[in-house]
Symmetry: C2
C-alpha cells in the first residue's frame, strides 16, 4: 500500500482517534502519526500504547501534518482546533470523525486558515467502549465512511477530497459522499434515535420500584441486554450528538413516539391483527440488514452458539 499522507495529526486519542492511529500505520497509509489529547492521563496512556508521537500541544501536533483529524466529542472540536489552526501547513487537509456534520462545519469552518482544506467526515464504526485502550486497527474494515465535502471551488479542493477518500479506503472503509444535512437526518434514524431509546429504557429500568435492578440484570437475556450494549457508549460523546443534531433527532423521536402510541392503543384494545401486521413487517428488515453484510446471521448475534 502506497503512503497516502506523509504525516497525520490526530486531536483526541479515544476509541476512534486511537484506532485511526493504529490502522494508519498498520496498513501503511502514513509514515508518521502525531497525537494530542487535552487530558494528560490520556496522553500518557497513548504514549504507553505506542499510538504515535504524542505531543504536549495541539499546535505541536499539527505543525508538520498533511492531514489533521479532529477526533474529540463533537462539542469539543472547535476548542480543540482553535489554537492549532494558525499553525497548519500549506494545503493541509482538516477532517473530523463527528457523528453530526452540520454543527461541526458551523463550528470549525470559521477557524480555517485560507491555505487549508476542510473536508468533514464520519466513520460509521465504533463499539460501546471508549478511551485509548479501546482502539483497534481493524475498526474501520468493511464499515462505511461518509464524507460531506463543502461547496469549495478552489481547484485543489476536489483533489484533496479524493486523497482523503484514498486514506479511508486504505484503512479498510467503504467511502460514500453525502451532503451534511442529509447525513444528519439519516444518522438521526440509524444511530441517534436507537441510542436515545436504549439510554432511556436502561435508565428507566434502573428507576422502577416494581422490579429490582438485580431482577432486570438476572433476566436480561430475554431482550433487555441487547439495549445495554449501546447504552454503555461514551456519555460525553452522546450528550454532544443530541445537543448538536437537535432538529433531526426531535423529528424522528416525534415519529417514534407517535407510532408507539398507536401500538399502545392496539394493545389496550386487543387488536391482534394490527400487532401481527406490524411485527411481520419488522421481521423483513432484519433479513435486509444481514443480506447487506451489516450484521451477523448467527442467532443471538452468535453469543449463545452451541459450545
Amino acid at each position: 500500500m502506497a503512503v497516502v499522507f506523509e504525516r497525520i495529526a490526530i486531536l483526541g486519542a479515544g476509541l476512534i482517534g486511537g484506532s485511526i492511529a493504529l490502522a494508519a500505520r498498520e496498513f501503511g497509509a502514513v509514515s508518521g502519526v502525531t497525537l494530542f489529547d487535552t487530558d494528560p492521563d490520556v496522553r500518557q496512556r497513548a504514549r504507553e500504547l505506542g499510538l504515535g508521537e504524542v505531543c504536549d500541544s495541539a499546535t505541536d501536533a499539527v505543525r508538520e501534518a498533511d492531514l489533521v483529524i479532529l477526533a474529540t466529542p463533537v462539542g469539543a472540536m472547535a476548542s480543540a482546533f482553535a489554537d492549532a489552526a494558525p499553525a497548519l501547513k500549506q494545503a493541509a487537509i482538516v477532517t473530523d470523525v463527528g457523528s453530526v456534520k452540520r454543527a461541526v462545519i458551523d463550528a470549525v469552518q470559521p477557524l480555517m486558515p485560507p491555505h487549508a482544506f476542510l473536508i468533514p467526515g464520519h466513520p460509521v464504526a465504533g463499539t460501546e467502549r471508549s478511551g485509548p485502550d479501546a482502539g483497534f486497527a481493524t475498526l474501520f474494515h468493511n464499515r462505511w465512511h461518509i464524507l460531506t465535502p463543502l461547496t469549495d471551488d478552489r481547484p485543489d479542493y476536489a483533489a484533496a477530497a479524493t486523497r482523503l477518500e484514498q486514506f479511508w479506503r486504505a484503512l479498510g472503509a467503504n467511502v460514500e459522499r453525502m451532503d451534511a444535512e442529509r447525513h444528519d437526518v439519516v444518522l438521526a434514524v440509524t444511530s441517534h434515535l436507537p441510542h436515545l431509546i436504549a439510554f432511556n429504557i436502561v435508565a428507566m429500568a434502573e428507576d422502577l420500584e416494581s422490579v429490582t435492578e438485580s431482577e432486570v440484570v438476572k433476566y436480561s437475556a430475554s431482550g433487555f441486554r441487547d439495549f445495554t450494549r449501546i447504552a454503555a457508549s461514551d456519555p460525553t460523546m452522546w450528550r454532544d450528538v443530541f445537543l448538536n443534531n437537535k432538529d433531526a433527532v426531535l423529528e424522528v423521536l416525534g415519529r417514534f413516539s407517535e407510532d408507539l402510541a398507536a401500538l399502545q392503543r392496539a394493545i389496550r384494545w386487543s387488536d391482534g391483527d394490527a400487532l401481527y401486521a406490524l411485527f411481520e413487517r419488522a421481521r423483513r428488515m432484519r433479513r435486509e440488514v444481514i443480506e447487506a453484510g451489516q450484521d451477523t446471521p448467527a442467532p443471538n448475534f452468535g453469543r449463545d452458539e452451541p459450545s
Copy 2:
C-alpha cells in the same frame, strides 16, 4: 445423568419445543419424546429432523407421557391442550413454556383433569429464529428457567414440582421459582417492553419518507441493527404475549414514554447536564449484565472482532 421422566410429550414443535426434544434426549433426561404440532408441514419437518416420535394428534402424543409440555404460542395453548387433557395418564405433570404466566394458568387450569398436576414455567431463553429447524440442544444452557407453581395442597404436588425442576436442570438451566403475577411484571420489563420498542423502531424506519429503507439498512451498524435482531422474532408468539400481558406491558410502556418525554424536553432545551447524568447511569447497567454472565463482554457482541 439419570432419566428424570420416562416419556415426555411436547405440543408445538417450534424453536422451543424442538430444542427441548433435542436437549432432553441428548442430556439423558428422558427415554422417549413424542411430539405433536397442529401444522402438518411442521410435523413433517419434525419427523425429518428426528426430533422424536411425531404423532398425528395431541391425544396420541400425551397418552403415555409422564410430562406434557405446552410449547405453542400463548394464545394457542388451551386449544392445543383441550382435546388431549382427558387422555393424560395418572399423576402426569403438565407444564408450559409461555412468556406470560397468569393468562396461561387462567386458560389451562380449567382443562386439567383431577389426576394430573399443572406446574407452569418459562425458559428465559430463545433466539430470534423460529420453527423446528431453529432448535438446538444447548439453548437452555446457563439460562434461567422460571417455575410458577400453583397453590395446590395435594401432597404429591410439591414432589412433582421438584421433579420438573430436576428436568430443567438436566437440560442445563438454572431454575428459579416466582409467583405468576411477579413473573409477568418482571418479564414485561426485561423482555416484553424491549421487544415492543424494537418492533416499533424497525417498523417506523421502514415507513419514513425522509430516509429510504436502503439507507437505514446501509448505515444500520451505527446502532439500528441491534434492534433488528429481536424485531425478527416470531410475530404470532409476540402478538399473543402482548394480548395476554396487557396490564403489565401498558404500565411499563407508560413509564418508558414518560421518561422519553423528559429526555425529549432535555434535548429541546439543550440541557446537557441532564443528558450526561442519564447516559452515565445507563452505562453502569451494562457492567452488571456482563458481571452476571448474561452477556458477552466482547465489544459489539463480538461481531466485529479483529479477524
